[in-house]
Symmetry: C2
Subunit: 550 residues, 2 copies
């Protein structure tokens, strides 16, 4: 990954089932089948071959797209079978040569993205009325098994060969870091000595023992495979109510690019490379906006609320993977704040599947925002519209700067969006997290007459700093310069520790603990040195370890 | 740290107030004063000067000793004032030159030890009827403020200069990793944008703002300093009941060393350097053992239950810091298992301060055991006595090998110790953690007639593998060889993720999340490279960062 990707080598996150190289998505009534069929020559860049259904970021971008389209475009689906089109192998996990030849920062961001995709499967299962059946028609190793673990049920073919396995520790000297260690311990709650044994058996566990250890839910011989898949998927679908018969097609998010400015429509992303920051501006449309189920559905993918957050999502991925040298995001929200509030309040009360789906999309974008390794400042200056879901964005930031000047109109405000609609990874609302030590302040903010001015926002505890016009420019300049002077790694570690106070969930464990250990190991000579395990795997050389335990 | 320290350069963990170089511990009635007065030339090794009350491992070993003696030797103490003897500076934190010149493994283990010591302060506060007042008579930076955060209350001198600060991110490119980030977010529950701001202000925050942000509990000018310290410590002491008037002196733990064998009395530690493993044998004494408060108190520090676990603690520190090349511990417990059970059951019911104190000591050793970066196998072969608190040790291991042969007597069993007396860092008992996915099994184990044989142990889910005599040697040999063939780093990361399933606490967050990020940063060129921040600090060079965010 070059520091600043040119437009042609930038990673593109937009795709469509018509263009998938690595998956086929097919439908039979209320059951979808998502089959992995990785094109060995279809790698996201040169230099490696995607053998045995191993994957790279490009494969995962298609997977994420498929899950997303299932939710929006196919509300009729109640069960999705995740399976493979290869013989004997379901999926061999992340491609090793790709990992070996990628710089550290890319590896870390690749893992973060794949972790998000796995969590999106679980989010769809929890909130979109669709269950996932991993139908492992062959061995699922490493990331392959991790993908299965994100599904609701796992069926493994019983053919004397096919196993589930975590070969990362024994063969590669790294961790099953796409949630694997967390999910066997905290989702499937497998006995702790067995998780240890399983994670060190390179060839994995198959057949009856895989069921006995609860690594899979069921096995079936090849002769009964199709019938068993059909039976299980049918039962899973039947256990859920029908959501709807017709979906909403998602259009592509393609920004207009002019130099360092990306214009998405509602979102503008403008890179300031001298200061190594990005100005992100979210514009809430004025005028009439949909406030009924019918109007929202009629607007479809063009509904501003859905579209704006999808655009923000696209901008975030752009920043993460194509703009590693940008360290700070200055976020502004402008426009008709009252439309954000009215839409939030409508979304909270709606039971319509499309509105609900949109709500969960907004939730995921907010999480991706605060899970990005960038420092985040919310800038509330004249014309600001940090209200409702936009106030959530401010609360997701590390700091909020509010211009406090009686001559300037700076209004913030609340809506249903701040009352628990958009929970963080820790299970709390952003106000609850912010005021963990003074829970009564949550109600104070929610009860304040909204919108409120800068002075009130400061009194309510929403401003990190609220300078007047005289100090505003200087304070901001200092805060920007200061942030740019710090070690980018120290900032990433600090933010990862401070952003998620309070309770822990599987999700915070994955990003907070498992990923941190993986990042550490991805730096160690025992993995990536000249004779490290990741370097030597698949070559004639065997690894040589520094044997000291740390 | 050399791979295998010679006996003379091994780090020694035994000390006594009479020999402290860096602290003075004094008493006035029920109030103790622990004053930091670091000897600049008293570093634990050559090469750095401990200026401005900065600390190294040697300073922390004395601190841990002082806390330990307070609990056992001074039950009359109800408040301990932690303060400094220098002018204007309370404590400057961990010594930077020491950190810069220490290898990665030592840094990580140093941080783990200091983290444990901070947690021991909180454990004493929770369980030993003694409150800690951090009386910051000058600036407390980095580790200095982290020490204060471990206390119950923080008083800061208000002299226009003295501040509390975390200069790690802005000046050193690392984290306040001795619990600092976790405690400001999860213990003091400070507003999240303020934790961000505070952690980036190198000079820190002082005076009224420190109180307003809840970074300290109170401030006092120099003129009223002594009176305020006296008043606060008096109030803290008075709020607690009196425990006892006379303590129990702790004797030194000095093993007899013969080559690679350390004999402590109840514990033997024998290094097998060829296989890179340590055989640890815990012998439960036969014959009459104390089973009343009076008998335990009469035995004092010689009470086998206290002594044996203190010895195990010493052996663990030996393994961690002086034996980095040992990767695996084979733990055996032998002797009169019924004495362990009887003692556990007695300890559970006793309300005597000394017995209670011993119980918390055993709890801490069990935690240190499973918080060590070594693979842990419990070996249950003929004569085994993994019962009660010893069974907890087996449950703390990554795996348990049980010889299942009708011709051999292999008995395991339960006691009060397995019913929640010894909770893990996650707040659960070890049986609850093991059977997170099948909670009914906890009761099955506890209701089984005890002791039980190998077959029953296996049926109850306590054996990872239960081979018969024919397979025993081979299975064990393979398991040992296999573990030695893996990357030590991958094992450390894997174990850190698998050992603590279930709920998270401040303690698991410190070791699981904060430490992992710090380990990562401690490897990064931005911290430790030629122009890294840690390398350049205090030199004429300024750091140069790889600006890419990861």
């Amino acid at each position: 990954m070059t520091a600043t990707a040119t437009l042609t080598d930038r990673i593109c996150f937009q795709t469509h089932p018509d263009r998938y190289k690595h998956w086929t998505l097919s439908f039979e009534g209320d059951i979808a089948t998502l089959a992995m069929n990785v094109d060995p020559d279809g790698g996201q860049r040169e230099g490696y071959e995607l053998k045995l259904n191993s994957y790279d970021l490009g494969v995962d971008i298609e997977l994420a797209d498929a899950i997303q389209r299932l939710r929006f475009e196919h509300p009729e689906v109640r069960c999705c079978v995740v399976t493979g089109n290869l013989d004997r192998v379901f999926c061999a996990g992340a491609n090793i040569v790709m990992l070996r030849t990628s710089p550290h920062g890319f590896k870390v961001n690749f893992c973060k993205y794949t972790n998000e995709t796995r969590l999106y499967i679980e989010d769809a299962s929890e909130n979109s009325g669709v269950q996932f059946l991993a139908a492992l028609n062959g061995t699922a190793s490493g990331g392959g098994y991790e993908l299965a673990l994100a599904c609701d049920k796992i069926l493994l073919v019983d053919d004397r060969n096919s196993a589930v396995s975590f070969p990362e520790v024994p063969l590669l000297g790294v961790l099953p870091g796409t949630g694997g260690l967390t999910r066997i311990a905290d989702k499937r709650k497998i006995r702790r000595d067995r998780t240890d044994a399983f994670s060190t058996i390179a060839e994995g566990i198959k057949g009856k023992r895989a069921v006995e250890w609860d690594l899979v839910d069921a096995i079936a011989p090849l002769s009964k495979w199709d019938a068993k898949v059909a039976e299980m998927s049918r039962a899973m679908a039947d256990a859920l109510p029908v959501r709807a018969s017709e979906g909403v097609a998602l259009d592509a998010i393609e920004p207009e690019v002019e130099g360092d400015v990306f214009r998405y429509g509602h979102i503008e992303l403008a890179m300031d490379r001298t200061q190594r920051l990005a100005n992100v501006t979210f514009t809430i449309p004025a005028g009439d906006v949909p406030l009924t189920d019918e109007a929202a559905l009629a607007a479809g993918a063009g509904w501003w609320y859905l579209r704006a957050f999808r655009e923000l999502d696209a901008a975030l991925l752009e920043l993460r993977l194509n703009e590693p040298e940008i360290g700070l995001v200055l976020l502004r929200v402008v426009g008709a704040g009252e439309n954000m509030v009215a839409t939030d309040d409508f979304v909270e009360t709606s039971k319509h599947w499309f509105v609900t789906e949109t709500r969960h999309q907004v939730k995921r974008v907010l999480k991706r925002f605060e899970n990005s390794a960038k420092s985040l400042y919310a800038i509330c200056d004249p014309g600001t519209a940090f209200r409702g879901a936009a106030l959530e964005l401010a609360l997701a930031c590390d700091r909020t700067y509010v211009l406090n000047d009686p001559d300037e109109e700076v209004l913030l405000g609340t809506s249903a969006a701040n009352r628990g609609m958009y929970r963080m990874a820790n299970g709390l609302s952003r106000l609850e997290t912010r005021f963990l030590g003074a829970p009564e302040r949550v109600q104070e903010v929610l009860s304040a007459a909204s919108p409120f001015d800068a002075e009130t926002a400061d009194e309510l505890g929403l401003a990190t700093l609220a300078p007047d016009s005289i100090d505003w420019e200087d304070e901001l300049r200092l805060a920007i310069e200061e942030r740019a002077s710090f070690s980018p790694d120290a900032l990433t570690g600090m933010e990862a520790n401070l952003r998620f106070a309070g309770p822990e969930t599987m999700e915070t464990k994955i990003f907070g603990r498992l990923s941190a250990w993986q990042n550490w190991i991805f730096q160690r000579p025992n993995a990536v040195g000249e004779r490290g395990a990741l370097t030597c795997y698949g070559t004639p050389q065997s690894p040589e370890f520094d044997i000291k335990r740390t």
